[in-house]
């Protein structure tokens, strides 16, 4: 239909232009840049895999990659352990719809509240002069402040779990909330214990949400550079920190781009894997 086509073009042309200019072209440039050669103070066009070779060969970078994946993984696990009971409680145990909605909103509000300030607060809590230490001294549990709360990977994982927990919580809640009560009642009716019903009915049906939560949390955590600086201490550099330094002080944009491309690749791989899982194991609750 002609009329339809005109309407379509007038709606789509602006967005297409914008998205090409701010997303597609920049990604392509970043990709191209990763094959350039660095030449102080800038870089020159080239086509070589030297930047990628450095990243794979230099143990300094390999360690960072492994650390990033490890930390992001532990952050996802911790967030899951914290989020699932909360989501389960809200979705399946709170009977009043009003209270349920209020608690849910209260849970996801921190998701949108200043990311920087939330990371910063953990620094004030965990520091050797911080809230936790002074609390323990005040109550007499310890005599002198201990320094092992802050500036290590555990502190980083706690902080990042805190920051990204709502990303885990939201999809899990959504999937638990839409399971009809009768699916679980039918299982109990047929003689399954509550634990069995949970393991064989509730858990499998909430799998898409859990998977989405892991994907979100993992991707977000793997690109964080704030928490490592604030609470991570000396051996906490993650991929994103290396990117900031390559684009900053080190002035090596081609190397920085190569790292970003790898980060982008990791994230896209994780998303595709979870998409694949979700599509094969998709349970349609209508």
């Amino acid at each position: 239909m002609r009329k339809n086509r005109i309407a379509f073009l007038s709606v789509i042309s602006g967005p297409v232009l914008w998205w090409s200019l701010v997303l597609l072209v920049p990604y392509l440039i970043m990709f191209t840049l990763s094959f350039y050669t660095r030449k102080f103070p800038s870089h020159i066009p080239d086509l070589h895999f030297g930047n990628y070779a450095i990243l794979l060969a230099d143990p300094q970078y390999v360690v960072v990659f492994i650390r990033t994946i490890k930390v992001a993984f532990f952050v996802s696990i911790t967030s899951f352990l914290l989020s699932f009971p909360l989501a389960y409680f809200l979705a399946r145990k709170v009977r009043s719809k009003r209270i349920q909605l209020m608690l849910y909103v209260a849970t996801i509000i921190p998701l949108w509240v200043s990311y920087l300030l939330r990371a910063y607060t953990w620094k004030t809590i965990l520091g050797s002069e911080g809230v936790l230490n002074s609390f323990l001294i005040w109550t007499g549990i310890i005599k002198a402040p201990v320094s092992f709360f802050l500036y290590n990977q555990v502190a980083m994982i706690i902080t990042m779990s805190y920051i990204f927990m709502p990303f885990m919580m939201m999809p899990i809640y959504a999937s638990l909330e839409k399971i009809p009560d009768n699916l679980i009642n039918a299982s109990k009716d047929l003689g399954a214990s509550r634990l069995t019903s949970f393991l064989r009915i509730t858990l499998p049906l909430s799998m898409p949400g859990i998977l989405a939560g892991f994907t979100f949390t993992f991707c977000m955590a793997s690109g964080d550079f704030i928490s490592p600086v604030l609470v991570g201490g000396p051996y906490s550099n993650m991929i994103a920190n290396v990117v900031t330094s390559q684009f900053g002080l080190a002035m090596n944009w081609p190397l920085g781009s190569a790292i970003s491309v790898i980060l982008l690749a990791i994230v896209i791989i994780v998303i595709s894997i979870s998409d694949r899982f979700e599509n094969t194991g998709r349970v349609n609750l209508g």
Binding site: F8, V11, I12, P15, V16, W19, V22, L23, P26, Y27, I29, M30, L33, L82, P85, Y88, F89, L90, K93, L103, V105, A106, T107, I108, I109, P110, W112, V113, S114, Y115, L116, L117, Y120, T121, K123, T124, I125, G127, V131, S134, F135, W138, Y162, M165, P166, R194, F216, C219, M220, G223, I226, V229, L230, A240, T244, F247, W253, S260, L263, V267
Partner: protein, 266 residues
Amino acid sequence: MHKKPFDFWNNAVALAAFCAFVFLYLPIVTLILFSFNSNNVTKLPLTGWTLDWYAKALTNSDLLTALWNSIIVAIATVFICLVIGVPTAFALDRFQFPGKNLFRRLVLLPITLPGIITGVSILSFFSMVNIPLSLWTVIVGHGTAFTAIVVTSLFARLQRFDRRLEEASADAGAQPWQTFLYITLPNIRTALIGSGLICFTLSFDEIPVTFFLTGRDNTLPMYIWSVVRRGITPEINAIGTIIIITSIVIIFFSILMINDDSNPKK
């Protein structure tokens, strides 16, 4: 009344949920508490009530400049998000076109990707075409990063929107623009306001993209970042409390708006 027997699992779940909830709010409460504490080190026990940190924060001219910059950036970001996000959501909801799936994935990528990638890629682009960094480049970056929020919430609303309401309007003799103005807009209004508000608060707090795209002007989070990297000062608690309380209020309303179900599709 028959008293229920003690139920171990139910209580365990409730306890775990309670702990998670405390975990979510303890840091926020800490931040607020210490913004009113007179000690200049954030440690217990509390030493006394004061508003000094607020006075200090609100007379710090660097901080106020940064605050003003952030407000400008956030308003401009909301504008971009709506101008681009609304037609994008309409295109995704109402038209079939080749490459639609790819288009959707591309558009939604910035909210799934760490902000740092958006920052780096746009930085590369600007430097290649020799655009100097300024608040404008920050605005473009934020627009790119957050438009997807408007797209997803408006798309969800449009999916629930009963197209027959528009047909009924055309049937009554309304031109397409009249239908949009009188029927469509009132029904998607809350989704637009809600997602716009969220874009505002996110832009106001944004660090990863801003980090790469800002020139000499600091936004508020960049200012705070430069301060907290060096050490802790209760002044940050004070300004943080203001930001957090404001955000909580704004976000509370935007969530209510986005989830507004007064006009569900029947």
